[in-house]
């Protein structure tokens, strides 16, 4: 049993704030998670939940006017927030790589796919250009692409799915320890999505890579992840092994999300009413309380903290104990 993964990435108390004219926005607020070797952690949540800011924080690429306020990002024992810019540049691409949703804007439209990948390789490794080209072709072939043709293609000449795989090939060209896929399969066809998920899973096993899979697509997260963290309004509200979280969600937000999705909800959907809160104007209590069916007085005044309820499963809700009892009764009957 290698259930106990060696921890590769540990994030502790990470907070990133944006200083805007409308006030302080806590886009990522006290985020804690870790990702083990060959493990996939999915971060799910609606748009504006702070998923992408969390991803960018890991690479220290939070755009102005945002700033990482505090916390620790330990990548194999090294705190990334203590590195100087030059060292950080080496980390990006080599240890931590990022794939975006929009593969068309990932690439420079006037350069070939091959030249992008070669650039990444030669920037980090002392290789001759011939060696770099061979390596790039090899990476493209690993992603199931016709190596020679895609190497010479310009981004617009490839279909969306091929381009996304080329972006993956580029991100994985240096065998990063952790790959961050920010909505990398969103807006792709199901068949292409299955393709990408297949290659991602394959590389997790073969290259001992870890994956941080950021998505709002619950079904994709369920399919690829080992563990899942649910974000709402900049905070993690629930985290745990993927099966447990999807089968018996502890946080009302998670269960409401599942009831909004036709794959997980038999019968009529019960979507969450309203829309995600404005991060500049959060209520003092639990951010979900205005939309929560169980919202009580305490929810509006006090922020619940993340507590471990089952082994490895945590939730931030004032009523988790009641929920746990409900689940236990349901299990008995």
């Amino acid at each position: 049993m290698d259930n106990v993964h060696k921890q590769v990435l540990e994030v502790k108390n990470l907070s990133a704030n944006f200083y805007t004219s409308r006030g302080l926005i806590r886009a990522a607020d006290n985020i804690n998670f870790n990702v083990g070797q060959s493990e996939c952690l999915a971060i799910i949540g609606e748009s504006g939940a702070g998923k992408s800011v969390t991803a960018l924080s890991l690479l220290r690429l939070v755009p102005h006017p945002g700033r990482i306020e505090e916390g620790e990002i330990n990548l194999e024992g090294r705190d990334l927030l203590q590195l100087n810019p030059k060292e950080m540049r080496r980390v990006r691409g080599e240890d931590l790589a990022l794939v975006f949703q929009d593969s068309l804007s990932t690439f420079n439209p006037v350069r070939t796919i091959g030249s992008h990948i070669c650039e990444t390789i030669t920037a980090h490794r002392k290789l001759s250009s011939a060696e770099a080209r061979d390596m790039a072709r090899c990476k493209l072939a690993e992603m199931g692409l016709p190596a020679e043709r895609s190497f010479r293609s310009f981004p617009f000449q490839l279909s969306g799915g091929m381009r996304q795989r080329a972006a993956l090939a580029m991100a994985m060209s240096l065998h990063p320890r952790v790959l961050i896929a920010d909505e990398a399969t969103t807006s792709l066809d199901v068949t292409l999505q299955a393709q990408i998920l297949h290659y991602l899973k394959k590389h997790l096993q073969e290259c001992c890579m870890s994956l941080l899979f950021i998505t709002h697509d619950l079904a994709a997260a369920a399919a690829v992840a080992d563990r899942v963290a649910v974000m709402y309004a900049g905070r993690i509200v629930e985290s745990g092994p993927v099966r447990e979280v999807f089968r018996q969600p502890l946080h009302p937000y998670t269960s409401a999300l599942l009831r909004s999705h036709p794959s997980f909800c038999p019968g009529r959907l019960e979507p969450i009413n309203g829309s995600p809160p404005d991060l500049a104007d959060l209520s003092p209590g639990c951010a979900f309380s205005p939309r929560c069916l169980k919202g009580r007085e305490i929810c509006r005044n006090k922020v619940p903290s993340l507590q471990e309820l089952w082994p490895e499963q945590q939730a931030a809700c004032h009523f988790h104990q009641a929920r746990k009892n409900d689940l236990r009764e349901a299990a008995v009957t």
Binding site: Q195, H198, A223, P262
Partner: protein, 322 residues
């Protein structure tokens, strides 16, 4: 009477590759489709397929935003594919479209009120100002907005509200069929759920039928009673949604298998290869290069869509043979 019937519809586009070369792209091939929306089994129809499979072109033909290159389109028994725009008024009112990008389909310089009044002015010119106003208020409420939103401009609405406004504009003229082109794709889960329920409610309240064009199978299954699968510009299977698990075409089965799910350990099964280039379809069955079950005949002969059982059609040489 069949509401809308396409007979051997085909559409090709000429595109230029360089300044001397012209190429013909066949977006839709010989598609015959009956939309008998009256019967319970085909109240809402889902049109699924990969991008580039011709779904959107077919929708543009069915809604007569474009004239077909070949074939005819019958609306309540009347051939309309070549009718001039002036004689299409009733058809235009009965068939409404909601596009994927709701924000782009709303005029940014018009307040909600004006956006909703325009279709009313076009199709119900007899309405008085008061009647129009009442109707707008009523529809705004029905889609989950409030009458106070009348004066607001599209940019003042959130993404979800913009979608609702686009839906309001479609249903305000009491259409029979609303075509939703990827109307719920790429949205947040809760918003998508809200919209799907809104579609269902409006369907019940006003007798609106839907043609849901989507690559999101769970949404199609939720809303539709009938599913039409397209591949390479052709319909490859047409079956009741509750029989999806008994689908006969290998492509439909591949689509279902690539759907991620929680049960069991998801072994991502996917189709090898890419959808074919629409300027050069392979000979024989267009799916045969990617098909796991191909036999020798598939590379030679094009299979035609044939009736397998009641309301189930498939275009595969193997269908119905086992």
């Amino acid at each position: 009477m069949t509401f809308l019937r396409g007979e051997r519809l085909a559409k090709s586009y000429i595109i230029s590759r360089g300044w001397w070369q012209k190429e013909e792209i066949q977006a839709v091939h010989d598609v015959s489709l009956d939309l008998d929306l009256d019967i319970e089994a085909g109240k809402n129809v889902g049109l699924v397929g990969e991008s580039g499979s011709g779904k959107s072109t077919l929708v543009r033909l069915l809604s007569r935003l474009e004239r077909p290159s070949r074939g005819c389109l019958h609306y309540r028994g009347k051939e309309i594919s070549t009718l001039p725009e002036k004689q299409l008024t009733s058809f235009r009112r009965q068939v409404q479209i909601i596009f994927q990008d709701a924000a782009a389909s709303l005029n940014p310089r018009h307040p909600a009120e004006k956006i909703l009044a325009e279709p009313l002015r076009n199709y119900f010119p007899a309405f008085s100002r008061k009647e129009r106003r009442d109707k707008i208020d009523q529809v705004l409420q029905q889609v989950g907005l409030s009458p106070e939103d009348r004066k607001r401009y599209p940019h003042e609405f959130s993404g979800g509200q913009q979608r609702r406004l686009a839906i309001a504009r479609a249903v305000i003229v009491n259409p029979f069929l609303v075509i939703c082109d990827e109307a719920t794709s790429g949205l947040d889960v809760s918003l998508q759920g809200q919209l799907l329920n809104l579609f269902l409610d409006l369907g019940e309240k006003f007798g609106v039928h839907y043609l849901l064009v989507s690559h999101d199978l769970p949404a199609v299954r939720y809303l539709c009673q009938r599913v039409v699968v397209m591949y390479a510009g052709r319909i490859v299977e047409d079956l009741p949604a509750n029989r999806l698990d008994a689908s006969l075409h290998p492509y439909t089965r591949a689509l279902l298998k690539s759907e991620p799910r929680l049960e069991g350990s998801f072994s991502p099964q996917f189709l090898p290869g890419e959808p074919p280039d629409s300027s050069a379809y392979p000979a024989g069955c267009p799916f045969h290069p990617r098909c796991p079950e191909r036999i020798e005949i598939c590379a030679r002969e094009q299979p035609f869509l044939k009736e397998i059982s009641a309301r189930h059609r498939a275009a595969c040489h193997l269908a119905g043979k086992q």
